[in-house]
Amino acid sequence: MKSRHKRIALIVAGIALLAIAVTLLLQSFQSNLVFFFSPTEVTQGKSPSKGNFRVGGLVVAGSVKREGTKVAFQITDTANSMDVVFTGILPDLFKEGKGVVAQGAQGADDVFVADQVLAKHDENYMPPEAAEALEKAKEYNGNNVAEGEAE
């Protein structure tokens, strides 16, 4: 009998440990989820004011300004654009007029402070996030501007 009690105690302890592990796992998972927003959503204030999120779209032509290792540029989804600053070396395929995805947080004066700018690896390849932002903007434009503009 005694060994059976022991075994039950062990199983209960095991389940308790597992439950704690799973809770911690899910908590860490929850706190590390990074959501994506388009420039339009950001200008509408839908993005969080605290914490990390991702934005994507096209780099506005002529908006890239460098100062030392600091770079400022604008991202647009064709409906709205937003200011982004980044410190560091940009990926090779970062170009004006091309798709880009940036990860970071909202800073002061409505400037998005990116700590990561994601490269696309192929000239013809559009990051899915950026593509979606443009897609969404199309709908947005369609709803706000007269039809016939859509194509």
């Binding site: 706190s31 590390n32 030392g68 192929d122």
Partner: protein, 654 residues
């Protein structure tokens, strides 16, 4: 003309592979022994056809046959020969053909080395491999024909993605694929066992070297990919928890669990159902990896094309294979049985805990990898899971696992005792705690994570030493070499692999704990002092490569007035695709890497100044050195003669 032969070869191969699958399975259900005889010849014929098709495709690359669309899209006449030959797996169609070609190689190997197995079991096993081959061939012929021709032949090809023009491209994909596809043998073995309703110790012994071989390939493939990313991407990172990396890492984790579980099945006739389930999981995750990587759902260098029909095909294929296998498992597992019993404290229990740890770790990685894909597929938005999740969760799960890893090889099978274990391991624990405190004090920075990492590494190392010294003492006579020889390669291989993991942990801990990164602006003739090293920038030199032009920075690095090295990072412009690539320059040594990556030249009044990124990566080479040791350990266990079954004496050693 020649490419068409390749196309026809694939069509015939599909027919033959179907027969290879259907005939023996019909024989199994109808108990018709005659049909089993078809398995081997069909398998060989089909494999040869596929390999011929693959060689033809590679030949088209060799002769720059741009009438083949795939060649025109992924190669260029200016591409160096070695990259042209490797470009065959540089795109979607070719890499799937390559996948099947590797499967053909494994199938051929099975037909030649499985002779000891009973005809019935061997035929079923080959039939299952035929099913997988047929599925993939159907996929190629329906959605991804690499031999598709162009009506208007382009003057030159579009070139291989410059990121892939690297020696890594020659070795990384083949090794990785050998690993992925190698698990198909263990999978076929598991399915055959389920269909047959039996799982013998001898069969477990037969499958061990095969599984270990796949695992070795995967280990080396992942390590090589990581090293490639480290120097090619220019960011100094070696692991990004990118979905594609995770896709290769999950089969590795389950494969690691599998080789341990197989050891128990073979030696103690225990964990039988579990071993079968792990075999199914390992290959399922390989297939899932192929899906994730090749379906284009990801923002990644590995994702080639976005074509929904391909994704759908793989998804359906995946559902059929995994669903079917698991259903079969649910129905038939009871007939295989659980196997021998064991005590609560025993090597079996420790290995079981190892399996639980690896399984949980896989689950955590799977959650982080698939969740964003599922959310996206359901149209609920785009999210990503940050690397901190993986870092925290993975380390938290693996630390207890590594701790148990130090005890496992010391514990006895069936029943171990606490006094014996503490007696054997007391010095190991003292040594590892002291060393884990000593190293940070030498390095001048202490954090709990550094301590834990080093503790685990030294714990495993000292445990390996305890295993060795215990065995050495047991043999009173002979030279050291003779003694080691008498342990047997399998035992030495296990210890080497464990030691390799410890080396790997040292590398990870030191890099994570002590790496330094700085972005600088520098102009010609200027000297910057970083981390005790002086960097003198001697300007930019123009360079011309085979298919690119480059600006090459000249950095003279010295320490305390003594020259250390010249680093020459490049900014390359690949001419065919007009793509700019950063080529980092790294000074390698066992205790530290100096890594320099060229940014861009500043504009306006700051012209002539360059932004440059400099990294110091202490012990980073240990990461890949550890993986190499793990791989070598695996190879040692494969060559152990114990696993070569002899037809008559197979029972004798059981």
């Amino acid at each position: 003309m020649i490419p068409d032969i390749g196309h026809y070869a694939l069509m015939i191969a599909l027919l033959v592979a179907s027969l290879q699958a259907i005939l023996p399975l019909a024989g199994l259900s109808g108990n018709n022994e005659k049909l089993f005889a078809f398995a081997t010849p069909m398998a060989r014929l089909q494999s040869v056809l596929i390999i011929i098709a693959f060689i033809i495709l590679d030949y088209s690359f060799y002769v720059n046959d741009f009438s083949v669309m795939y060649v025109a899209n992924t190669s260029n006449s200016n591409l160096p020969l070695i990259f042209r030959l490797a470009a065959v797996w540089g795109g979607h169609e070719g890499s799937i053909l390559f996948w099947v070609a590797i499967l053909a190689i494994w199938t051929l190997a099975v037909t030649f080395f499985a002779k000891e197995l009973p005809l019935r079991f061997r035929s079923t096993l080959i039939a299952v491999m035929g099913l997988i081959t047929a599925g993939f061939l159907l996929f190629i012929l329906m959605t991804s024909n690499p031999f598709e021709r162009l009506d208007i032949i382009p003057f030159d090809g579009r070139d291989l993605n410059p990121l892939l023009q690297d020696p890594g491209m020659v070795f990384h994909p083949p090794l990785l694929y050998m690993g992925y596809v190698g698990f198909s043998v263990a999978f076929a073995f598991a399915i055959a066992a389920l269909l047959d309703g039996r799982l013998d110790v001898t069969w477990a012994r037969w499958t061990r070297p095969w599984t270990t071989a796949a695992w070795v390939f995967l280990t080396l493939g992942i390590a090589l990919g990581s090293r490639w990313a480290y120097y090619e991407l220019g960011w100094g990172g070696w692991w990004f928890w990118d979905a594609v990396e995770n896709a290769s890492f999950m089969p590795w984790l389950i494969g690691t669990a599998l080789i341990h579980s197989l050891a128990v099945t073979e030696k103690r006739d225990a964990f039988k159902s579990w071993t079968v389930l792990l075999s199914i999981c390992a290959f399922s995750l390989s297939l899932l990896g192929t899906f994730i990587v090749r379906s284009g759902v990801l923002t990644s260098v590995h994702a080639f094309a976005i074509d929904p029909s391909r994704g759908l095909f793989i998804l359906v294929f995946l559902a059929l294979v995994i669903g079917g296998a698991l259903l079969l498992f649910a129905l038939r597992a009871p007939s295989i049985g659980l196997g021998e019993k064991f005590d609560l404290l025993s090597r079996e229990t420790l290995l079981l805990s190892n399996n639980v740890v690896l399984f949980t770790a896989t689950g955590a990685v799977l959650l982080g990898t698939l969740y964003p894909l599922v959310i996206d597929a359901m149209g609920l938005g785009k999210i990503s899971v940050g690397p901190p999740y993986f870092d925290v969760v993975f380390v938290a799960i693996m630390v207890p696992g590594v701790f148990l890893m130090g005890i496992g090889p010391i514990a006895r099978w069936k029943k171990a005792t606490v006094p014996e274990l503490t007696d054997k391991l007391k010095w190991a624990s003292v040594v590892s705690i002291v060393s884990a405190l000593l190293v940070p004090s030498v390095m001048g920075k202490f954090t709990p994570m550094i301590f834990v990492g080093l503790l685990m590494a030294f714990w495993v190392m000292s445990s390996v030493w305890v295993s060795v010294s215990t065995r050495l003492k047991a043999i009173p006579t002979g030279t050291l070499r003779q003694k080691f020889k008498s342990f047997g390669p399998a035992f030495n291989g296990m210890l080497l692999a464990h030691f390799g993991l410890a080396v790997f942990i040292v590398g990870v801990t030191m890099v994570k704990g002590y790496e330094q990164e700085s972005d600088i602006i520098i102009k010609k003739g200027e000297i910057k002092l970083i981390n005790g090293y002086a960097f003198r920038f001697e300007g930019i030199k123009p360079i011309r490569g085979a298919n690119y032009v480059a600006k090459q920075g000249q950095f003279y690095v010295s320490k305390d007035g003594k020259p250390v090295t010249l680093l020459t990072p490049e900014k390359r412009l690949y001419l065919a695709q007009r793509v700019v690539m950063t080529e980092a320059s790294i000074s390698i040594n066992p205790v530290r890497d100096i890594y320099v990556s060229l940014g861009e030249e500043l504009e306006g009044d700051q012209k002539g100044m360059w932004s440059v990124r400099v990294y110091f990566k202490p012990f980073v080479q240990w990461i890949w050195m550890g993986c190499l040791l793990m791989g070598l350990g695996g190879i040692l266990t494969i060559v152990d003669k114990r696993y070569r079954l002899k037809k008559k004496t197979s029972k004798a050693t059981a």
